[in-house]
């Protein structure tokens, strides 16, 4: 608010410095609540394994998307490189790693799209085919939705960067965005284990 006092004394500055930063607390809480949301879909998936009344069954049609997984998980590393570069103010390095992150994320979405196309048009598995289709498309789709949201945000930052608006003052915000991206990756580890390891 505009009416803040003009002078803040030393003890006040020290006190404020001892409190955590708003954005970090906020994103951690968002991750907490999203985890709870995902957990229910994972529970539903595990609960319905082997309960489909008709095919196709997971072992017939699913193959682990290894390349997709490698891309998504390594994008978590590249985004760390990007934020570190921004913290020391080297915009060029930041731009490079940031765009690599964007590309890796896009690859994941394209890979998921191709997998779904195969499942739907070749194997005849849709969300209404059986319980496997219901739980598979909702869980993987929910994760893909979160990747898409992350990609839109990353794309937004990319555009601002290419237009020349990015500098080290925004390192903290970029860091917070990267935490969301790490969360999306961590969820993929759980989804991958549930769907392609336990469920197959």
């Amino acid at each position: 608010m505009a009416a803040a006092p003009a002078v803040a004394n030393q003890s006040q500055i020290e006190w404020k410095g001892s409190l955590p930063e708003k954005g970090r607390v906020g994103i951690l809480l968002l991750i907490l609540t999203e985890s709870s949301f995902f957990a229910i879909f994972v529970v539903a998936y595990l609960f319905y394994i082997g309960k489909s009344l008709n095919g196709p069954y997971p072992k017939d049609v699913l193959s682990p998307p290894i390349i997709n997984t490698i891309c998504l998980l390594s994008s978590s590393i590249t985004i760390v490189f990007a934020v570190r570069a921004l913290r020391v103010g080297s915009i060029g390095t930041f731009t490079l790693w940031w765009l690599v992150t964007l590309a890796l994320g896009l690859e994941f979405m394209i890979g998921t799209g191709l997998e779904w196309q195969e499942l739907i048009y070749h194997d005849g598995l849709t969300i209404s085919t059986n319980l496997f289709g219901t739980t598979f498309f909702s869980l993987v789709g929910l994760h893909a939705l979160h990747v898409t949201i992350g990609l839109i945000l990353i794309l937004f930052v990319s555009i601002l960067t290419l237009l020349g608006y990015m500098d080290r003052r925004y390192a903290e915000r970029t860091e917070i965005l990267s935490w969301y991206w790490h969360f999306v990756d961590a969820v993929w580890v759980v989804v991958f284990t549930t769907v392609y390891v336990i469920g197959r």
């Binding site: 608010m1 505009a2 009416a3 409190l19 809480l29 969300i127």
Partner: protein, 560 residues
């Protein structure tokens, strides 16, 4: 709007009065001020309280005598569904969110919540979500002519909610409404926790926060963890209804019991989400009107945290009748009894606070004392229902209805009334009339006991819940007539409150900054507080900063 700072920052009520009506409405619509949003939440909640109250009155009139024929059976189903959904999501949640919104920043000496625009977003999401539920009265028919409002009960058991059994769109409006209001609540919870962790004024360590702020913290964490299961289940139900998924479709191998688990994982902690704020109000009001510090602050906080944890592992006590394994029954019966321990500790703490105090029986204190009594009884019938065989006998009877209304009305609504009388002077600058308030209290107290005490006996006599009529001569006639009479008395009491509010706003006695001689920071600023709350950022040395200010010779900070 260009102009000086004074023009751009509305200075509470005085600043707003001079503006034309349209500008004033515009200010409320675009506001991001936590106090205005808090008041809008509370006002919205009170409007829906009237609506849900009228629904309850209709239900009670229908049940007053056997075969009354006031409403047809299908309309009765809609009434009880709308009454339950409205009371939980459109009355309890917004009023409690509203109080936290209003009080938490003031109590921790902050200027606003951490994310003011997110706060406004949450409110509007809640409001339009709420309107969506009531839009089903207009748009719920769809093309089928199959009912104009949801009629699936507030916990909407599958597979009744599937397309085949709930045609038309009324159930869809129910789903969307709950989904949206839940997202709004989640946003507010995130905001409250962030505010509490990052914006406390100088000197206010976590152990010096008012108890109400601790309660807000625990409730907000619970909201973040248990509301998403409900939202997730609603998404699954939408997928079932619109794209042919089979989550709860028993014909395709789906499980109706899974819905029950998902719903009650949310549904039981929800009771604590609603009642813990009531504990918070009691923990602020009882000390001030007993003229003593709260007894056992640390234990109080620890008990609340314990309740938060334990309450997340009791949900299936709503499902004893489903036929779980003996191990499952034993686990959920035990955990349910366990949650009674920290709750009992709190009751002793409040009694310990009153013990030897100079008690002033003002209206907020009257409601608080009644809350103690009624919450104790509600807890005891809860322990009875936790015994699985006892629950098999009485599940889905009026005994259960009596039990949860003892919690929701006897504890929560009573404490909401106490909080309204206690903080109304702060929010408006006017006192509520004490005389009319006493009428409100005694009528509501008597009406409450007439209605809900007798319901226990109707339940023990075997009256099932959710029936729209019953046969004469089965021992239920007199009990039901008394219940309906009690409901009318309660309605008269609520009328007293609204008359009181309107009269006070018009010509109430001026409150001043600190009418109750209280100790927490919200009483340090003006009534109503300016948009920026505090001219100077306060510095706190103890749990009762205003006591320290009023008694510099004997400050609390010496003893804590």
């Amino acid at each position: 709007m260009a102009g000086s700072i004074e023009q751009r920052i509305p200075l509470g009520a005085e600043g707003a009065v001079s503006l034309p009506l349209l500008d004033r409405i515009h200010q409320w619509v675009v506001t991001v001020d936590h106090k205005r949003l808090g008041l809008m939440y509370i006002a919205g909640g009170l409007v829906f309280f009237i609506v849900a109250g009228l629904q309850a009155m209709t239900i009670r009139l229908q049940l007053a005598i056997p075969n009354a024929g006031i409403v047809p059976p299908d309309m009765f189903n809609r009434l009880m569904t709308m009454h339950g959904t409205t009371m939980v999501f459109l009355v309890g949640m917004p009023i409690l969110t509203g109080f936290f919104n209003y009080l938490v920043p003031l109590m921790i000496g902050a200027r606003d919540l951490a994310f003011p625009r997110l706060n406004a977003f949450g409110f509007w999401l809640w409001l339009f979500g709420a309107l969506l539920l009531y839009f089903s009265y207009i748009g719920g028919n769809g093309l089928y002519g199959a009912g104009s409002a949801p009629d699936v009960g507030w916990f909407a058991y599958a597979p009744l909610t599937e397309r085949a059994f709930s045609r038309g769109n009324s159930t869809d409006y129910w789903i969307l409404s709950i989904f949206l209001t839940s997202v709004g609540s989640t946003a507010t919870a995130l905001n409250l926790i962030t505010t509490t962790f990052t914006m406390r004024c100088e000197g206010m360590t976590l152990r010096k926060m008012p108890v109400l702020v601790w309660m807000s913290l625990v409730v907000s964490f619970m909201i973040l963890i248990v509301l998403p299961p409900l939202s997730a289940a609603q998404v699954m139900l939408l997928l079932d209804r619109f794209v042919g998924a089979h989550f709860f479709d028993t014909q395709a191998g789906g499980s109706a019991v899974l819905w029950q688990h998902f719903f009650w994982i949310f549904g039981h902690p929800e009771v604590y989400i609603l009642v813990i704020p009531a504990f918070g109000f009691a923990s602020e009001i009882i000390p001030v009107f007993s003229r003593k510090v709260i007894f056992g602050y640390e234990v109080m906080v620890a008990a609340t945290v314990a309740i938060g944890f334990i309450s997340m592992s009791v949900w299936a006590h709503h499902m004893f009748a489903v036929g779980m394994t003996p191990a499952g029954n034993a686990f959920f019966a035990t955990s349910t009894m366990l949650v009674g321990v920290p709750t009992g500790i709190k009751i002793f703490n409040w009694i310990g606070t009153m013990w030897g105090g100079k008690i002033r029986f003002k209206v907020p204190m009257l409601f608080s004392v009644a809350f103690l009594l009624q919450f104790l009884i509600a807890g005891l019938t809860g322990i009875m229902l936790a015994v699985a065989p006892f629950d098999w006998q009485l599940t889905d009877t009026y005994f259960v209805v009596a039990h949860f209304h003892y919690v929701l009305v006897g504890a929560i609504i009573f404490m909401i009334f106490a909080a309204v009388y206690y903080w109304f002077p702060k929010a408006t600058g006017k006192m509520l009339n004490e005389h009319l308030g006493k009428w409100h209290f005694w009528l509501f107290f008597i009406g409450f006991h007439l209605t809900f005490d007798t319901m226990h006996f109707a339940g023990l006599h075997g009256m099932p819940r959710r029936i729209y009529t019953y046969q004469p001569g089965r021992g239920l006639d007199t009990l039901n007539l008394i219940e309906t009479f009690g409901a009318l008395v309660q309605a008269a009491a609520v009328l007293c409150l609204f008359v009181n509010v309107v009269r006070s706003l018009r010509s109430g006695e001026e409150a001043g900054n600190d009418p109750w001689d209280a100790w927490t920071l919200e009483w340090a600023t003006t009534s109503p507080p300016p948009a920026y709350n505090f001219v100077e950022q306060p510095v706190v040395r103890s749990r009762r900063p205003l006591w320290d200010l009023k008694h510099p010779d004997d400050p609390d900070s010496k003893y804590e």
